[in-house]
Amino acid sequence: MKIAGAVVLLILLLATLASALAVVHTRQQSRSLFVELSRLGNERDDLNFEFGRLQLEQATWAENNRIEQIARGKLGMVSPGPADTVVIKR
């Protein structure tokens, strides 16, 4: 009877200890995962911002007025008149 009580007590003690260690481990893990999550989040944001900047740059280069100046001025391009345009059936 006495021995059984001691065994139960020991098991409970070990279980408590194990769960305490598990809590420490999980907590540690959650912290490192959170750090990883924040890092990836930041990376995603940075890539999005970079994309935005590139879009902006592209839009600036593709500005209609600039294109027109270059096409007409530098490259001597002209719009095709009706005589140069063929209407086709699609």
Binding site: R31, F34, S38, D45, N48, F49, G52, R53, Q55, L56, A59, T60, A62, E63, N64, N65, I67, E68, A71, R72, M77, V78, S79, P80, G81, P82, A83, D84, T85, V86, V87, I88, K89, R90
Partner: protein
């Protein structure tokens, strides 16, 4: 036996000691209860306040795209440098270094820091390029840190200034569509709770109080290419005629979508300091103009609706003037005996006034009102004007006559465009929208047959020899229908000798796809709509139909105008799916 002077009262001493111990421990218990239970909240709060912080998670504002996915307004991250004044002042020796790096005046910076030394947060410099901000942070000055913020850029600059509007330094919409769709674009900044050490470094994330919700993107109905064309031509027309201001609106007839909306003078939303506030007004929706002769289309619609008038019912406009209660209405030329169509073709004020006189004022008001006059269009643009249409009770016979040719009421260019779009859309009016795919419900405002009759009449304005003379609105190979207008500018209750030139039209006339409305205010020299506003319509539409691949009215016209091209093709090819839709093969840069 040791003699004792007195017997020791061991027991009572024990009670005294016990009693004191008891008192002390109950004092401790009382104190503990006081701290842990009674004043727990206060201490918890004070403790948390010393190391827990709620931090905002910044979110970027959504991007605005044109209908083809070209970015029109983009938010990019910038860094704002801030300081904690007491901490910086502790290291006052480093202030010169900081001032130099931030490009600030040393004395001014010191003064600012001392003045705000009771605060914990002041901005030193806002909206820096992230690289420049890093250069300042690398100095590692205590109490100086950066904060992520966003700045809005408008790659199209002046071309979209009025339609888009702009945001303030905190990235909230202030004008235009930025304001109208602020809630949609802005998103909600998140909040996270963190533990910080004494130096302000984040030690641990405790919880996410509110998740950040990034701003949503918005796709407009405006086509950047058509917008640019309209901008370019309007600007050129203003310069040519030394006009004070102008507006142009282009609508897509089947959907009511706004394809272009430009005004002059304009402003650059990227650099809007020292801009005359009047330059920032989106005149196409906030400013009204008397529609002048463009209104005759609706007077005639009302007349046809009564059934008393048919398209060829004769109207006597001799001798070119018409006197009503001492008020003389006159035409530019005496056109003699014409028909109802002729009233539109030759833009006869006398004819319009006589026709109006045969109708009840309630009926005329009803038709004008159905076409959207006197009420906001529902485009949702901030500050949109409803225009002005007097109630029929206020109309005398003279007022009714002048209303017939567009004086005595006013409307925004968008309202006039909307009304013409209803004629173009077989009498069904749809509120214009700035959002791609957001089709507003349409309602029938006039019989489809009347709308078709009006379109035919409006076409005579462009093609008839000696007609309204709007030949300059023509677009090669396309049929155009439209109406010119000239309105005097009303100033302080009277009319000045200043004019606005108008043109409202649609293309292709046989199956209208686009409606355009041009207003040019106070041109010098020539002021007739046919000479000032109509050419802008013609030039912009010439490019727009090409960009949108709008098929010409009929391909025979095309071949007739370009025999060279016709000979190049041997036989029209048929696509595998058998559709016979006509299309131009080129959508390049529009011709001048």
């Amino acid at each position: 036996m040791n003699p004792r002077t007195k017997p020791v009262a061991t027991r009572s001493r024990l009670y005294v000691v016990l009693g004191m111990l008891g008192l002390a421990s109950s004092a401790l218990v009382v104190r503990a209860v006081d701290l842990q239970v009674v004043r727990k909240d206060f201490y918890q709060e004070q403790g948390d306040a010393r190391y827990l912080r709620d931090l905002a998670i910044p979110v970027s504002r959504g991007t605005i795209f044109d209908r083809n996915g070209e970015p029109l307004a983009v938010s990019t991250p910038v860094d704002s440098i801030w300081a904690n004044p007491p901490e910086v002042l502790e290291h006052a020796d480093r202030i010169p270094e900081l001032a130099k790096a931030a490009g600030l005046d040393e004395e001014a910076l010191k003064q600012k820091l001392v003045e705000r030394s009771d605060k914990e947060f002041i901005y030193l410099k806002r909206h820096l390029n992230p690289d420049d901000a890093q250069a300042i942070l690398r100095l590692d000055i205590p109490g100086v840190a950066s904060q992520r913020e966003f700045k809005r850029y408008y790659p199209s600059g002046e071309v979209f200034g009025h339609a888009l509007g702009y945001t303030n330094i905190d990235d909230r919409g202030q004008e235009g569509l930025e304001l109208a769709f602020d809630d949609w674009l802005a998103g909600k900044p998140g909040v996270k709770r963190v533990i910080r050490d004494r130096k302000g470094h984040e030690v641990e994330n405790v919880e996410l109080v509110r998740e950040a919700q990034a701003g949503r993107d918005l796709t407009l109905s405006i086509d950047r290419r058509i917008q640019y064309l309209a901008y370019r031509e309007l600007k050129a027309a203003l310069a040519e005629h030394h006009a004070t201001s102008g507006s142009m609106v282009i609508l897509d007839v089947p959907t009511g979508e706004i394809l272009a909306m430009v005004n002059q003078p304009s402003f650059n939303p990227n650099a809007r300091t020292n801009v005359d506030p009047s330059y920032r007004r989106n005149r196409a929706v906030t400013d009204v103009v008397e529609p002048g002769s463009t209104m005759k289309a609706f007077t005639i619609s009302a007349a046809l609706e009564t059934g008393k008038w048919k398209i060829h019912t004769p109207v006597d406009t001799r001798p070119g003037t018409y006197t009503l209660y001492g008020h003389t209405i006159s035409d530019v030329h005496n056109k003699g005996l014409i028909d109802v169509t002729g009233v539109i073709t030759y833009s006869s004020n006398v004819g319009a006034a006589k026709i109006a006189g045969s109708m009840s004022r309630d009926h005329m008001y009803d038709v004008f009102h159905r076409f959207g006059f006197g009420e906001v269009t529902g485009s949702g643009f901030p500050g949109e004007s409803p225009g002005y249409l007097p109630i029929p009770k206020a109309w005398g016979p003279v007022e009714q006559a002048t209303l017939a040719y567009g004086y005595g009421l006013n409307a925004t260019p968008l309202q006039v465009a909307q009304a013409y779009a209803a004629l173009a859309n077989d009498g069904r009016l749809r509120s214009p929208t700035f959002v791609k795919g957001a089709q507003n419900p349409e309602r029938t405002v006039v019989d489809p047959q009347i709308a078709a009759n009006l379109r035919a009449m409006l076409e005579t304005v462009i093609v008839a020899p000696g007609g309204g003379g709007a030949v300059k609105a023509r677009v090669t190979n396309y049929r155009v229908a439209g109406k010119t207008g000239t309105a005097r500018t009303a100033v302080g209750g009277g009319y000045q000798k200043k004019y606005s030139s108008l043109f409202a039209g649609m293309i292709p006339a046989s199956n209208p796809r686009l409606v355009g409305m041009v207003v040019i205010r106070e041109p010098q020299g020539a002021f007739y709509g046919a000479l000032v506003a109509a050419p802008v319509f013609g030039r912009v539409m010439d490019g727009a139909v090409r960009l949108l691949d709008v098929p010409p009215d009929n391909v025979q016209n095309w071949y007739a105008a370009a025999p060279e091209a016709a000979r190049k093709i041997e036989a029209p090819r048929k696509a595998p799916d058998g559709t016979e839709e006509m299309s131009t093969i080129d959508d390049g840069v529009p011709q001048e």
